[in-house]
Each structure stands twice: as structure tokens, then as C-alpha cells.
């Protein structure tokens, strides 16, 4: 049992950036907007978070900067796709590429600088319970935020009127508009939320996970988050499962090598992707479930009075 404590802690922290970005993208896609720019938003979030924390000496200022940077990038995407009605797929890809490049440019002077890290929670007395203590009560603040966000997204989307409106806009924007709901505004807020979450995910990487900045440090996690949302059938709790599964298999692949299992390392590197896709596809086999949860207007441009 003692032996599992370290791995579980690592898996939870490895899953956090994926979870944050995927939850944000889930809300965005539920409102009908397909934002492929997650990787770019994560990258700008990561660099702005690191720069702000390094210049000010306050890690939490870095977290705030990461969120704002993600939102700024998302705002640009919203301008393109919601106001100017540009193609969502193309705009998202453009956001990814330019986000990665811009982040490298901004962060150029900060490569090779050690980061400060974010303090871990320490509830006196409770955190020292063996095994459960550190896992439940010894994490860093952002990991708790990710868990809270998962529950919050689920609750808001499926138990509140706001969530109903978001899903309505995503399923049939014409009807929603006819009913008087502000489609563009709802989508704008959903996109901004997605950007904030992606920025936070990026900030987590550069402030907590490996407190440093290097170009391309997101290493494709934005794409993984995008895939998680789809394979999890846009259901928040399945996104949590997918993120944890991916984190767990990634860690296991490295752990197995250390033990000395003779499997080729390249095969082990592909395991997280293969396993997560397989598991999520299998549990989402139900066609009715899929049809109910897929936002019917995903990726379709909306122009009132057309």
C-alpha cells in the first residue's frame, strides 16, 4: 500500500493539466463551438504564467496571468468564429500554431530559469494520515481546483438552467435563437471559459509540474485533451476517467521500464494513447448515449436571420 502512494500522487498530478484543458473544451463544445486551439492556448497560458510568476515573485500572480492569457487567446478565436463567422476548424488550427510560436517568442528570455513552484496544501493533522493523507489532503491547490471544476462542470451543465441553455445552444442554435436565447453571447462565454481552463492547464505545467519554461513544453497535451472530450462522449465524469487513465498508463509505461520488463520503450510510449482510446470507445458503445450527448450543432457557424 505504501508503495502505491508515490505512483498515485504522480498519476493524479499528471492527469491535472489534461483534465483542466479537457473540461474547458467540453463546455466550449457543448455550446456548439469546436475550438481546436487548445494546444496554443495552453502554450500561451504556460509562458505568461511563468513570466508573470518569475517577474513578480508571486506564484499566484502567475496562475492569474495564465488564466488571463488563455482567455485572451480564446477571445481572439471568438472574434474570428463568432463575430466574423470564420471556419471554426481553420481558426482553431491557426490559434494552435500561432499560440505555440508566440509562446516561444515570449518565453525566449526565460528558458533555463528555475521556477518557484506553487505551495502544497498542508492541513495539520490530516495530511499525515498514511497513504490517504497525502493523496487526498496534500496536493497542490491547482489539482484541487481541477477536481472541483470537474464536479462543478457536471453540476452546472446537467443540474442548472444555465447548463440547459448551453446545451440547447449546442444542440440546435436555430431553435434556441427562436426561443430568445442569446446564442452568440452564450457561445462567447463558453469559449472564454474554455480558454481560461486551457490557460490554467498550461500554467499548471510551467508553474507546478516542471517549474520552468521551455518551448513546446505542452508536448501535445492539448491534442490529447481534445481527443479525451470526444472519446468521453462529452460527459464530464468520463473525461475525468480518461484523464486519469491516460496519466496512469503514461506513468506505468515509464515505471515498467525501470522494473526491467523487456517490452520495447517505443511500444510502451504508445500504450497511453491506445489504451485510453480503446477504453473510452468501449464504454461509449451505446449509440443512443452518443446521440444524446453529441452537440448536434458542433462546429456549425451561426448567423442570426440567415
Amino acid at each position: 500500500m505504501e508503495m502505491l502512494e508515490g505512483p498515485i500522487l504522480t498519476i493524479i498530478t499528471a492527469a491535472t493539466p489534461l483534465l483542466l484543458a479537457a473540461l474547458g473544451e467540453l463546455v466550449t463544445e457543448r455550446s456548439g463551438v469546436l475550438n481546436l486551439g487548445v494546444e496554443g492556448m495552453m502554450a500561451v497560458g504556460a509562458v505568461c504564467g511563468f513570466v508573470a510568476a518569475d517577474l513578480s515573485g508571486q506564484p499566484f500572480l502567475g496562475v492569474a496571468a495564465a488564466v488571463l492569457a488563455g482567455m485572451a487567446a480564446a477571445a481572439l478565436f471568438a472574434l474570428l468564429t463568432l463575430v466574423l463567422v470564420a471556419n471554426q476548424v481553420a481558426s482553431g488550427l491557426a490559434l494552435t500554431l500561432s499560440g505555440l510560436g508566440l509562446s516561444a517568442l515570449i518565453g525566449d528570455a526565460f528558458v533555463g530559469v528555475p521556477g518557484l513552484g506553487v505551495p502544497h496544501l498542508h492541513i495539520p493533522g490530516v495530511s499525515v494520515i498514511p497513504f490517504l493523507g497525502p493523496i487526498l489532503f496534500g496536493q497542490d491547490i491547482l489539482t484541487y481546483l481541477a477536481w472541483a471544476l470537474a464536479i462543478g462542470v457536471w453540476y452546472v451543465l446537467f443540474r442548472t438552467r444555465t447548463g440547459l441553455v448551453i446545451r440547447a445552444v449546442g444542440d440546435n442554435h436555430v431553435s434556441a435563437h427562436a426561443l430568445g436565447y442569446p446564442v452568440i453571447r452564450v457561445r462567447l462565454l463558453a469559449v472564454l471559459f474554455g480558454g481560461a481552463a486551457a490557460g490554467l492547464a498550461g500554467g499548471y505545467l510551467s508553474l507546478v509540474y516542471t517549474p520552468q519554461w521551455t518551448p513546446n513544453m505542452t508536448a501535445g497535451r492539448g491534442w490529447i485533451a481534445l481527443a479525451l472530450v470526444v472519446f468521453a462522449a462529452w460527459i464530464p465524469l468520463r473525461v475525468v476517467l480518461g484523464a486519469l487513465l491516460f496519466g496512469a498508463i503514461s506513468y506505468l509505461a515509464l515505471y515498467l521500464q525501470g522494473i526491467g520488463i523487456g517490452l520495447p520503450s517505443q511500444f510502451l510510449s504508445s500504450m497511453p494513447y491506445l489504451t485510453t482510446i480503446l477504453v473510452l470507445v468501449v464504454i461509449s458503445r451505446n449509440r443512443v448515449l452518443l446521440r444524446v450527448n453529441t452537440p448536434a450543432c458542433l462546429g456549425q457557424a451561426f448567423v442570426p436571420d440567415r
Partner: protein, 356 residues
């Protein structure tokens, strides 16, 4: 009309030639990096060498660099662009640039090429390498003295001879202090990925390793060691600021002196294709700064470094046994450079299989 066109043509050619001649005042020395020039590791050390060339020969030489060049077809394009652009000596600083360098060198016989850590040469291609294994032997000795669990974690990138040499030298050094010392190896299949390196470090520490050594380029592993109160060695550049309490030593590459020497050779026309393999002896690698260890360990490490520097001790001196038990070198016999440069077997005591 024809006379007019001829005159314009002649003027254009003259302008071109004049422009070309004007730019040929300073020798162009160009560098190709596999990572960012300020990665805090491998490529940064190459860049510091380039800056030394600027400092010492700035009046006669103009340097430039291309960074983040992926090994493969992109490398070919990057190197060719430099050769076409007037570079007279091009330093390609990663093993994976080997074949692209040879290919482009054949097309541009007037340009000199220097390829790091490779083994293919040509009339206008030299190779240069560092005997990192010398440093890794000493690191093995330090690890065996410092480790309480008797196990080290080793994060490695790709199964090329240089990496295998490093693992073997580390084990030989550790075994000279503790014959039962163990090493756990994780292949991350990349030279630089902080997230993955951090995960690998955590996995190794979770399995009982308490000293970390890496053959990858980011300081992520050092940060994990610092967070867990364990120890780690840095790679390529001084990583002590990433782990003030964890840092034992960093294997620092000092390319400056070699770069200055080679550029000077081009300037005075004495450049010839050579294969250089330097180590502690010429200060081309430095193991430092030694810290977070008891004084007797520091003294032992320094003593070994001095012995290697003076030529008194050669790391791969027998008796050395291969992983399968066969004898690779008899007592007192030294393994030759050619064998080392194509090394593809582990020494006895390494619990791993080389990936194919």
C-alpha cells in the same frame, strides 16, 4: 536594344560580384543546434562555445546559428541553406545530423563541416566528440558513496553508442566502490522533454532509486530530486540552481576551446579533416561544481578526475565482463576507441536490455 540589355546585364553581374566580395570580409562560422540555444543544457553549451569564438575572433569571424533543428530531413534543409548562404565552416551539433552533414558536405566541397558525436568523416568533414564516459565513471563513484539504497536511476534517450558508453562507465565507477550497486534505466526516446523526464524521475524514485543521473537535456529530473529531498547529477551544463540541495555534480561540456581552434585553422588555411575525442585532459569536459557531499567523497572524486587527466587511469581498463559473462577486456587491457564508438553491449551488473 540588345546593347542596352547587355549593359544592364553586365551592371547587374558587377553589382552582384561587388556585393559578394564586400560580404566576404569576415569568415562566416555557422552552428546548427538540435534544441533551443538557451535550453539550459546541451545546446546552450554549444552556444557558449560559439560566443567564445565571437569573443576571441570577433574581428575576423562572424557567427550565426540555427536552433531547434529536428534530426532528419529538416536538418538537411537547414544545413544546405547555411552552406548556400556563404558559411565557410558549419558545426552540426547532434548525432542525428550525421547523414545530412555527409550528404550536404559532398555537394559543397569548399565548405568545412564539423559534426559532433558522430563517426562518419569525409575530406571536408571532421568529427569531434567528448569522452563523457570519463565524467560518468566519477559520477558512478560518487553515486555509490552517496546512495543509501544502493540503486541509482538513469534516464536515457536513445540507444546510441555514446549513451551505452555512459551507462557502462557509470556502472564501472559505481562498482569500483560498491560491487553490488544497481541501476534502473528508463528510455524516454527524446533528448528533451521536461514533462516526460520529470515523470521518469518520479517513476525511478518510486522504485527505490535515490540518486538520479540523466543523459537527457532538461533540468526537470533535478527539480524532482530537489522536491523529494534526494540527489541528482546534472547534464551538459551547471544545473545546481535547479536543485540547490539535490545537486551533486554536473557534467559540463566546454566546447569553446575546440571551436576557437578549428575556426582559427580555417582562417590560416591549416584545416584538415580530423577526428577529435577529448575529455578531462583538455578541460573539454568539467565535472562540477561538486556539492552536497561529504569532503572525503569530494576528495575521492577529484582524485579520480586528476588521475584520468594525467593519463594515469583509463576508465575502460580490464578486467571488464559483458552482461552475458564473457570477458570483454583482460586485466590491464584497454578497450580501444573504435570498439567504444560502436559500443552495443552492457557491462555485467546492468539489469536491462538494450532496445533495438
Amino acid at each position: 536594344m540588345q546593347k542596352f540589355l547587355a549593359a544592364v546585364g553586365a551592371a547587374a553581374i558587377l553589382a552582384f560580384a561587388a556585393g559578394g566580395a564586400g560580404a566576404a570580409d569576415k569568415l562566416k562560422a555557422c552552428f546548427v543546434y538540435v534544441g533551443p540555444h538557451n535550453d539550459g543544457g546541451y545546446s546552450q553549451q554549444h552556444d557558449m562555445g560559439r560566443q567564445q569564438v565571437d569573443k576571441e575572433l570577433g574581428d575576423k569571424v562572424e557567427t550565426s546559428f540555427v536552433e531547434n533543428v529536428a534530426e532528419g530531413p529538416d536538418a538537411e534543409r537547414a544545413i544546405e541553406r547555411l552552406a548556400r548562404g556563404g558559411c565557410k565552416i558549419i558545426f552540426t551539433t547532434s548525432f542525428g545530423f550525421m547523414d545530412p552533414t555527409i550528404k550536404i558536405a559532398a555537394k559543397y566541397p569548399d565548405v568545412k563541416f564539423e559534426h559532433a558525436t558522430g563517426f562518419k568523416t569525409a575530406a571536408n568533414v571532421s568529427t569531434y566528440n567528448l569522452r563523457w564516459y570519463e565524467g560518468r565513471y566519477v559520477m558512478g563513484q560518487i553515486a555509490a558513496k552517496i546512495s543509501k539504497s544502493g540503486t541509482a536511476g538513469y534516464i536515457v534517450s536513445f540507444p546510441i553508442p555514446e549513451v551505452i558508453m555512459g551507462i557502462n562507465a557509470f556502472m564501472l565507477g559505481a562498482q569500483s566502490v560498491n560491487p553490488d550497486f544497481k541501476v534502473k534505466i528508463v528510455w524516454v526516446n527524446t533528448w528533451f522533454d521536461p514533462g516526460k523526464e520529470a515523470d521518469a524521475a518520479k517513476a525511478l524514485f518510486d522504485q527505490g532509486a535515490d540518486v538520479l543521473i540523466q543523459h537527457t537535456d532538461s533540468p526537470a529530473g533535478m527539480q524532482v530530486a530537489e522536491a523529494r529531498g534526494l540527489h541528482a547529477f546534472g547534464q551538459s551544463s551547471d544545473m545546481s540552481k535547479f536543485g540547490p540541495k539535490a545537486h551533486l555534480a554536473s557534467l559540463i561540456d566546454n566546447w569553446g576551446p575546440y571551436y576557437v581552434k578549428r575556426v582559427k585553422a580555417v582562417l590560416d588555411g591549416s584545416w584538415k579533416s580530423t577526428q577529435t575525442w577529448a575529455g578531462f585532459a583538455d578541460d573539454d569536459i568539467i565535472l562540477g561544481p561538486l556539492g552536497n557531499m561529504p569532503d572525503d567523497v569530494k576528495a575521492m572524486a577529484q582524485g579520480t578526475i586528476d588521475k584520468i587527466k594525467s593519463g594515469q587511469f583509463f576508465v575502460f581498463t580490464g578486467p571488464i565482463y559483458k552482461q552475458d559473462g564473457t570477458l570483454a577486456a583482460k586485466e590491464g587491457e584497454k578497450i580501444d576507441d573504435a570498439t567504444l564508438l560502436s559500443l552495443n553491449w552492457y557491462v555485467k551488473g546492468v539489469d536491462d536490455k538494450i532496445p533495438q
